[in-house]
Amino acid sequence: MKTFMSALCLLCSSIVVSAQDPEFPKNEFIMHVRLHNGMVTDFHSSPDLYVGGLQLVPQWTVVGNLLRVGAVVGGFYTNKKLQGLAGPTVSIKLKTFSLKNFGSGGNINLSLDHWWGTDQQRLLGGAVNVDLLNLFVTGISVHRDYNLNSWWIQGTVAFRISKVKKIPHP
């Protein structure tokens, strides 16, 4: 945990926050629905198991232009069973796709999660995500199930389902 926090602090301090960065606006609430699928593997025995599911990811931006915290709740199918998972998540913005005077077109962010599964899974990991137009997110995730000694390697696609906060007209 200590190593994780140190790495997080180092990462945060290395990110230069632009004064006119439109990504991760402060105090924003955002909710994504995420589809994921991939494999569960221990890299030794075969065959690997398929895993796929649907998640709901509500998040709040607690540090403007930098950090969102939230939760993940979802259902997934693996090993011929439907199961559930839940846990906290944080997203750290790594890069803004600046469109200069047009604002921004999206961002690259890193999400870090800890999930508890309904079948004794304990997953720690994260994903690198590309968020385009504040609408569509795609990413690759890797989680370690440290209880059952396996790795979950997946691809994800997500869509924002929360409404964009309307800017009041003068």
Partner: protein, 344 residues
């Protein structure tokens, strides 16, 4: 004799106008104006100039950055909205500086203020004014400013470049107003400098501070992105509108000078003055009771910068523009004929 101050549009280039006004006040402390006409950034300057808040104007026009005027947003969030930028930072500045107290001082000063906007619904150049005697003319519609909120909304609308900044419902808070839902934007879409309004308000001496050079400003660069293309297009369009704004008053002036010269020649040839006036007095003459204008123009010799459309707000660059305005006012004053100076 009425004297008018007219300031054109130009975004951050308004700093040039502030420098020029500051210097004019310094050289001619007794120079006062009766009529103030502003378009876009000019509409932000003239109300404060009318109540002699020159130091405040200097502060405002040398301390801004882009973030204090507009906020950049995620383009994906703007696809179904009316502007690329959020202009609430500018609206906050308008509310901060154009207070009820300042509005009341302006109203009691007797100074006539004209704020040029463009109405999207009617396509009309719509002029918001505190001049109760003003009436709509062929080229523009007149609307009376009714309170301080209405005044601020008119200024905001005049300052908002369409597409980049939002449209403003100037009459939104006027109960029962038939144009409550009308959207207004930058007056510069129709009129770069409101010299016409100054003439119609009875000004015979007009000081026009224009924020472009008046000649084409070639730029040796390739316009490879949408924003710079749009801004360059607006610049070219504004330059053309600006030229037209000066052509009409100049032609009007030439016509009046011609009539005046013909009258003098007829009198010199022995025709009685009363007869001469009778010949030149016909009903609905656009020149009846008008005298030739003195139109003094102060404008930069070279492009001021500030980016296309003047949408780059850089305080250091704006300080430079202010200094250029001071320099141009000094040069203007030095070039005046002694007979021109009626205000010293």
């Amino acid at each position: 004799m009425k004297r008018a101050l007219v300031i054109s549009g130009g975004g951050s280039k308004g700093a040039f106008a502030v420098g020029a006004i500051k210097q004019l006040h310094q050289i001619y402390p007794s120079l006062v104006f009766d009529i103030y006409v502003g378009t876009s950034t000019g509409s932000l300057i003239v109300p404060l100039a009318a109540i002699d808040e020159i130091n405040l104007l200097e502060e405002i026009y040398t301390t801004q950055s882009k973030g204090t005027i507009v906020k950049e947003l995620r383009i994906g969030d703007r696809l179904n909205t009316d502007s690329i930028f959020d202009a609430n930072p500018l609206w906050n500045l308008v509310n901060k500086y154009f207070t009820d107290d300042r509005y009341n001082i302006l109203q009691t000063s007797g100074k006539k203020l004209y704020i040029n906007t463009t109405c999207l619904q009617t396509e009309a150049l719509t002029v918001f004014t505190n001049d109760t005697a003003a009436t709509s003319k062929e080229g523009y519609e007149i609307r009376q400013i009714t309170n301080s909120d209405h005044f601020r909304r008119a200024i905001m609308a005049s300052s908002c470049q369409p597409v980049f900044m939002p449209t403003i419902q100037v009459n939104k808070n006027l109960p029962g107003n038939a144009e409550k839902d009308h959207q207004y934007v930058d007056g510069g879409v129709r009129e770069y400098a409101g010299i016409e309004m100054a003439i119609d308000a009875g000004a015979t001496e007009i000081f026009a501070i224009l924020l472009s050079t008046g000649v084409n400003e070639p730029e040796n660069k390739y316009y490879g992105d949408l924003f710079s293309l749009m801004q360059r297009t607006i610049d070219i369009f504004m330059t053309d509108v600006g030229k037209n704004d000066l052509i009409i008053p100049n032609q009007y002036n030439e016509a009046l000078q011609y009539i005046d010269a013909v009258k003098r020649k007829m009198i010199n040839d022995g025709i009685p003055g009363n007869d001469v006036n009778r010949y030149f007095t016909i009903s609905e003459s656009p020149y009846a009771d008008k005298v030739p204008l003195k139109l003094f123009t102060i404008r930069p010799d070279a492009p001021l910068g500030g980016g296309p459309g003047g949408l780059n707000f850089d305080s250091a660059e704006m300080k430079g523009m202010l200094a250029k305005g001071i320099g141009s006012a000094i040069a203007f004053s030095g070039g005046l004929n002694p007979g021109d100076v009626t205000w010293a």
